[in-house]
């Protein structure tokens, strides 16, 4: 644990530009400490994995970073600015955008509309109640560009709820990317996906990370090894280890706690 606490600030000083960082993050649920003393630094241009057994507190960390839950204590800063008390929609507008463990799409809207909803806000189109919905046609080219990037252009007119599971996740990522976030938080983006989809999504995430910071929860260690520059291991709400894949995978405690339980 001491090693983990030392690594995060150390890395902040020497590594690539840190965009989002957390210090001493803690969250209690009626006496139960779900997340305790978590330090994180998410850097621009990197993919950061958050791994750990089920119930370790990964989703809770996501909820804290995006302010869907208020931290019991600790601070969160975005580009040096304290956002610990900022409401969730504002955090999203500042550029920290998340996906959800259970895929979050608007099932009865078309695939195209799902993306357009995300594109709508910046131009102030969200509040225009007096205009026809055809005002959104101006966003279609950009939305189609995003859909083409993720290979969903052919499905643009289908209700999003009709897509296969894997394509729903891809749509969710495309919608998130529509906001051009500074920090992209992906909660198990590939869970339950077939091999082919995993490859597609990996490529999308890699491309997205070239110009932003990515934090992702992922159980598939092959994906983590292949994709992620930095790994933080969480266990019972606390950081067990942090470092690159080689460091973390050779850590004895990680082997026992995580690899041991998960891979038999």
């Amino acid at each position: 644990m001491t090693a983990a606490m030392a690594t995060a600030p150390e890395r902040a000083a020497t590594g690539p530009r840190v965009v989002l960082s957390a210090r001493g993050l803690r969250r209690d649920f009626a006496g139960f400490v779900a997340v305790n003393n978590v330090d994180l630094d998410i850097a621009h241009g990197t993919i950061h994995a958050l791994i750990g057994p089920n119930g370790a507190g990964k989703t809770t960390v996501f909820n804290l970073l995006t302010k869907f839950l208020a931290p019991t204590s600790g601070t969160i800063t975005l580009l040096g600015k304290d956002i610990t008390r900022t409401p969730p929609a504002k955090v999203a507008r500042l550029g920290v955008v998340r996906s959800f463990q259970i895929s979050a799409i608007f099932p009865h809207l078309s695939v195209l509309d799902n993306v357009r909803v995300a594109l709508q806000r910046p131009g102030g189109l969200g509040v225009q109640f007096w205009r026809s919905v055809s005002a959104l046609d101006a966003l279609t080219p950009r939305a189609m560009e995003l859909l083409e990037q993720v290979g969903l252009a052919d499905a643009r007119n289908r209700p999003a709820g009709d897509l296969s599971y894997g394509r729903k996740r891809v749509l969710e990522i495309a919608t998130t990317l529509a906001l051009d976030p500074k920090v992209l938080l992906l909660d198990e983006p590939m869970a339950g996906m077939g091999h082919e989809d995993v490859g597609t999504v990996s490529a999308i995430i890699r491309a997205a990370a070239s110009d932003r910071a990515v934090l992702m929860v992922e159980h598939n260690l092959d994906v983590v090894a292949d994709l992620c520059d930095w790994i933080t291991v969480l266990q019972r709400g606390e950081i067990l280890a942090a470092g690159d894949y080689a460091t973390v995978s050779s850590d004895e405690r990680v082997k026992v706690a995580y690899l041991g339980t998960d891979n038999g």
Partner: protein
């Protein structure tokens, strides 16, 4: 299924068939007073507009308000008072009613919007009851008597609304404007956000939408349009009474909307027409109205949850998939 119907409806692509039906409906409205009593038609139109305004909130935003009588009845009092005591022209009285209802909506919405589901409904009910007791006590409402003998006055200073047909066509115009406003809001960029909030609130937040503000805006718009209906009713019937601010009135508009079909444009209009017609029939038969409405309510919940229009649309899958 209802929602898919909705998504096509909301795509804003009204085909030639829809336009033809709309033209037919308007023609029927214009001809109707020569066949049916105008006063009965006007009552239907006022309640239909009320139900459409309510549906903006329930059907398109997913919020169940149990306090909409406040806006309907409150606006009726404001309009009646302005026209009778201050001698305002009817259109100004109606606008005051709309503005007053919007302010009441802002207050009620402010307190209710952060709560979910049944808690939201309970807060709106509690605040509506407070407004009811305010109306019982406040001198300008004249308590149990209400504001009686409101002159219909002259529209724009020269069209006498005491002339039944003038009054009727004015009501038709206001009704059409009100329904158009609901349709426009639902099929606007803003309406798109309301739909996404209803479909997945957390996702809307994560896309940066301050959901509470959107809900509050929808609440105020719904309140203002409900106020338009209430103020119009006060001018038509020339009185404003406590009946329109009771919780029963809030329940009635829920019933109309559910019966016709939530989340459809014409459902609330159909629902309001049936309920008003039923009340008129029962009023002469002696059968208790409350029992009848209770039975309808149960039928809605148990048998046809989509409402009449919703069920019909759901049974026309072919027509809709072609569009």
């Amino acid at each position: 299924m209802t929602d898919l119907t909705l998504s096509r409806e909301s795509a804003g692509a009204a085909g030639p068939l829809q336009w033809a039906l709309l033209a037919l409906a308007i023609a029927a409205l214009l001809a109707a007073p020569f066949v049916v009593y105008p006063i009965f038609l006007m009552k239907i139109l006022c309640f239909a507009l009320f139900a459409c305004a309510f549906n903006l909130l329930l059907g398109y935003t997913g919020l169940l308000s149990f306090g909409h009588a406040t806006f309907f009845g409150g606006a009726a009092y404001f309009a009646a008072h302005a026209v009778k005591v201050w001698h305002w022209p009817p259109e100004a009285g109606i606008l005051l009613g709309v503005a007053g209802a919007a302010v009441l909506g802002l207050v009620m919405g402010f307190f209710a919007i952060r709560r979910q589901g049944i808690y939201f409904a309970m807060i709106t009910l509690a605040l509506a009851q407070m407004f009811y007791f305010f109306c019982v006590q406040a001198p300008f409402t004249h308590g149990e008597d209400g504001i009686q003998g409101v002159p219909r006055g002259e529209l724009l200073g020269f069209i006498s609304l005491h002339e039944p047909l003038n009054m009727y066509y004015f009501v038709v115009a206001v009704f059409l404007i009100g329904v158009f406003a609901v349709w426009r809001i639902v099929n606007s960029p803003f309406g798109m956000i309301l739909r996404s909030i209803r479909e997945n609130e957390g996702r809307a937040v994560s896309l940066g939408y301050s959901v509470a503000n959107y809900k509050l805006a929808a609440f105020v718009m719904s309140a203002a349009l409900a106020g338009l209906a209430g103020a119009l009713k006060a001018i038509v019937f020339q009185f404003a009474t406590l009946t329109d601010v009771t919780w029963q009135m809030s329940g009635e508009v829920i019933l109309m909307t559910l019966l016709g079909g939530i989340g459809t444009m014409i459902g609330p209009i159909v629902g309001a027409t049936l309920v008003v017609a039923l009340q008129n029939t029962l009023a002469t038969s002696g059968f208790p109205v409350t029992i009848a409405t209770g039975l309808i309510f149960m039928a809605c919940v148990l048998v046809f949850r989509r409402g009449i229009v919703g069920e019909i649309l759901a049974r026309l899958p072919e027509r809709h998939s072609k569009q």
